[in-house]
């Protein structure tokens, strides 16, 4: 379990990093916290010719609020969020998610941009940020583009990143005072990847909701038109109206044939809804 040999660069600014990625033309890999890439290198699941270590890019470590929206640089760590070092517009929702990612040692090094880029279906941010309505900015030498998180995650370990492109920042909209947040997951043990995630942002005052069922074998199921899950309307009594049959049908439609698996996913989603209503 030793990696195949690779070249290593640690650029000092984003432009230099993007140039190296462009020159690497697909055989380069970015490393930030290394919490997923490290083991994959050791197992030789990936054998890049070049590793571009972006951990020196100060411009990706910023966390700032612009016009009510939080912009988190890709290198902000889970621990930065957990400890409140990074600004917050979600009224603690992101802190709560961050605090339960894997183990503290992983949170110290693991980054929000790295987690999104890796696009592991069982990881927390791709589900939580989709529920919060976040967007990501991707940058290459050619320029930048921005898209919703749910569009960014294409499938299991598959993102919309093109060759030479990097996750630059995450844009998180402010959570309104009337929006309820619930996040639940089921893990075999403490710190383990989840086998079911439910993330809900429900605003009964606005009669709107973003519902995410995550940790399935592919990209999370993101429901923005969620009324059907609550018997046709989203109102103050949404907890009582949550319809497990509709959730089950969504999972079946997503190709999950195993009834016990669906049952666990629905149960976890129900916990998230209950937490939001609590």
């Amino acid at each position: 379990m030793k990696p195949a040999s690779f070249a290593y660069e640690r650029p000092c600014d984003l432009t230099a990093a993007l140039s190296m990625l462009a020159a690497g033309s697909g055989s380069a890999k970015i490393i930030a916290g290394g919490q997923s890439l490290g083991p994959m290198l050791n197992l030789r699941l990936v054998q890049p010719e070049l590793i571009v270590d972006i951990s020196a890019l100060a411009e990706l470590k910023r966390a700032e609020i612009f016009g009510g929206e939080l912009v988190l640089g890709a290198l902000v760590t889970h621990a930065d969020i957990e400890d409140g070092r990074a600004a917050d517009v979600t009224r603690g929702a992101m802190r709560g998610v961050a605090a339960n990612i894997a183990y503290r040692a992983v949170r110290n090094r693991g980054t929000i941009g790295g987690s999104l880029s890796h696009a592991d279906p069982a990881a927390d941010w791709i589900s939580a940020l989709a529920a919060l309505g976040a967007r990501v900015t991707l940058r290459s030498l050619a320029g930048a583009r921005t898209m919703p998180v749910e569009a960014f995650v294409v499938g299991a370990l598959e993102s919309a990143l093109h060759t030479g492109e990097i996750v630059e920042a995450v844009h998180v909209p402010a959570r309104s005072v009337s929006a309820h947040w619930g996040y639940a997951k089921s893990c075999r043990k403490t710190g383990e990847f989840a086998h079911a995630i439910g993330a809900v942002l429900i605003d009964p005052a606005a009669a709107s909701a973003r519902i995410v069922i995550g940790a399935i074998d592919t990209a999370p199921i993101v429901i923005t038109d969620a009324a059907e899950l609550f018997g046709g309307r989203i109102a103050a009594d949404y907890k009582q109206r949550f319809d497990v049959r509709v959730a089950d049908a969504l999972l079946a439609k997503a190709g999950i044939d195993d009834a016990a698996q669906r049952h666990i996913h629905v149960g976890v989603l129900k916990r998230a809804v209950q937490e939001a209503a609590a």
Partner: protein, 797 residues
Amino acid sequence: MREDAELRNEREFRSGRSGQGVGARLPRKEDDRLMRGRGQYVADIRLAGLQDVAFVRSPLAHARIRGIHVPERHRGCVFTAADLDGIKPIRAISALPGFKTSEQPVLATGKVRQVGELVAMCLAPTRAEAEDIAASVTLDLEELPAVTDMLKARAPGSALVHEHWGDNVFLETNYEVDISAALDAPIKVTREISTARQCMSPLEGRGVVATFDPRLDQLTLHSAAQMPHITRSGLAECLGMEEGQIRVISPDVGGGFGHKGILLPEEVCLSWLTMRCGHPMRWIEDRREHLVASSNCREHHYRITVYADRDGTLRGIDCEATVDSGAYSSYPFSACLEAAQVASILPGPYRMPAYRCRTFSVATNKCPILPYRGVARTGVCFALELMLDLVAAEAGLEPGEVRLRNLVRPEQMPFDNITRKHFDSGDYPEALRRALAQIGIDAIRGRQRKGEADDRRIGVGVSIYCEQAAHGTSVYSGWGIPMVPGHEQASARLTPDGGLELRVGVHSHGQGMETTLAQVAHEILGVDVAKIRIILGDTAMTPYSTGTWGSRSMVMAGGAVATACRELGERARRIGAKLLQHDPASVVLQDGEVRGVNGSVSLKAIAHTWYRRPQDLPADVDPGGLEVTQGYKPVRDSGTFSYAAHAAVVAVDPDLGEVEILDYVIVEDGGVLVNPLVVDGQIYGGLAQGIGTALYEEMPFDASGQPLATTLADYLLPGPTEVPAARLDHMETPSPYTQFGVKGIGEGGAIAPPAAIANAVNDALRPLGVELMQSPITPHRVVAAVLAARVAERSAA
């Protein structure tokens, strides 16, 4: 016999005075080194010119080898079976009638029979470069149908792991005592029960550093091994060398659990390679190799029927047990130890008049099954204790009641059970009564009636086991495996400055023997524990021993140390008498000095005189000296029987399938405890492993024989938050057969938890009609069972 033993134990048992002897709760001496990161493990050993080895391993479970292609640039760094001139395959036979022998080539020849089997070895200055070379070697394999299901493997027409056998059965055994007498019992419960294949997962994996010294004409193998002398015997057989030409050094070892008792093909390979190439070679097992290619254990299947009367009295057990033994018979334990043992240990500490058990050790295209802490007992305990709960449910009785009705009673000790296991001592019902009281069985029943605010369901489960330990020649001679333990030996030497060196052939890899063996010696000689050095793990430094396995070390090596120290003390006493100018009959050895009516002389002064000032000794002094080697066997070598009652309270979430352990009580009886602190540690560690068996650990295979849990992301081990703060209670019924009345207790902690936890889960879910008969109890299995029970209920309605 029992009274005599108790008297003797009382006489010998005087730990109280110095606080360092038998029974003292001493912190472990070795922890000063190990906890500061100053341990020396195989991977820490640096030798000049060391090269690293990586292996090309089979990617397929079953295939014919058509060719091995080594790129031109790597010729000379890659070796295959064709290069291994004069190396014999590993053969671990058993003399049990009908046993079929497998030959495990150290590098594959003709066929590969498991994923991860060694095909070629590659050497380079670093492991990463060696892995590069290994990756460049291509194998031309013709895939054959894989044998992956031990039950189907028994059926005619199955693909064959070893063609010349004609079937896939290493060994079939049959044991019966009048089963027909049970058949008319009013309660008859039949189930299939199984335990998953596991990986042992010590913190440190295996590892080998091999070097050859032409001056000594000696191969030195540093290996993370539990049984260095057995490793040496096995190596000598495979390499065709004299045992004296081989020295095996096992330095600090980070956990063994059975995995490190096995002679590895890697050990043979590196031995050959260092002699071929003339410089030291190293191979350190990585975690993927550990999971995929080695260390598998526990995969049992039972078809079992228990017969009982309406009052819960056991009438008999009828069982067919199958163990997936994997592709090869491992040295020295063989492929049949696990399954064939099931037949003799299934009845456990219960009385019954009728019994039948048929066992099958089945070959499959998986890695060999190895004896893991508890060996067959964990599976047996799981099967029987789950069945007893079903009997209780059928009889409408508390599970504890059924057990109390059938457990061997203290007044029956010593007791020969239906399979002629000889129980030396103990009060099993008392252990159970204490466990039930401490877990608060009545309060839990009340709580269950009220229900939980969070909709989880509470359950309580108990399990009992007995652990035969330190069983010796009379037991193992019948097995006829390459290793039969005889007398255990120890050497004791007083140093010129009054220190004590003990050389012992067992090894310590977490058991704390550098402390506990010193306590035994202190008990006899009174030498300060700080001045006692325990020398272990080196065939050149220690007497021959089968090593550390079967919870035997404290009974056997402890007994040998006591015996050697007694003889050493006797010699010192005679010298002391001379120095005191007393009649030897009038002096005693006490608290580290020889005392007579007119004075005393310390062991230190005696040693100094003997070695450094022999001119002060009279001419007629006994010339035997202050270094002795003595052999020891207990009065009876059929083994000590330690035991425990475990009780668990769990909360089960029927929606998510999550199981939380709320409370856990262990009442154990390990005879006289040499060091209760060390025993506590053994039990906690075993409990963690038992929780792994119960809830987490599983190595699944697909139909083509590919192992599916190849990293620790997929092979889940319990961590600190999954192991509850268990409450321990010790009973100390001495064994009548051993020094001080000690019993072996190394494995027990890992035996009972799966059964206690499964019984608790089933107790929680029984009102839902749910029954889980398979380990591990995963969230998916719980929810699937809950849903199935709902469907069954609907269709019944």
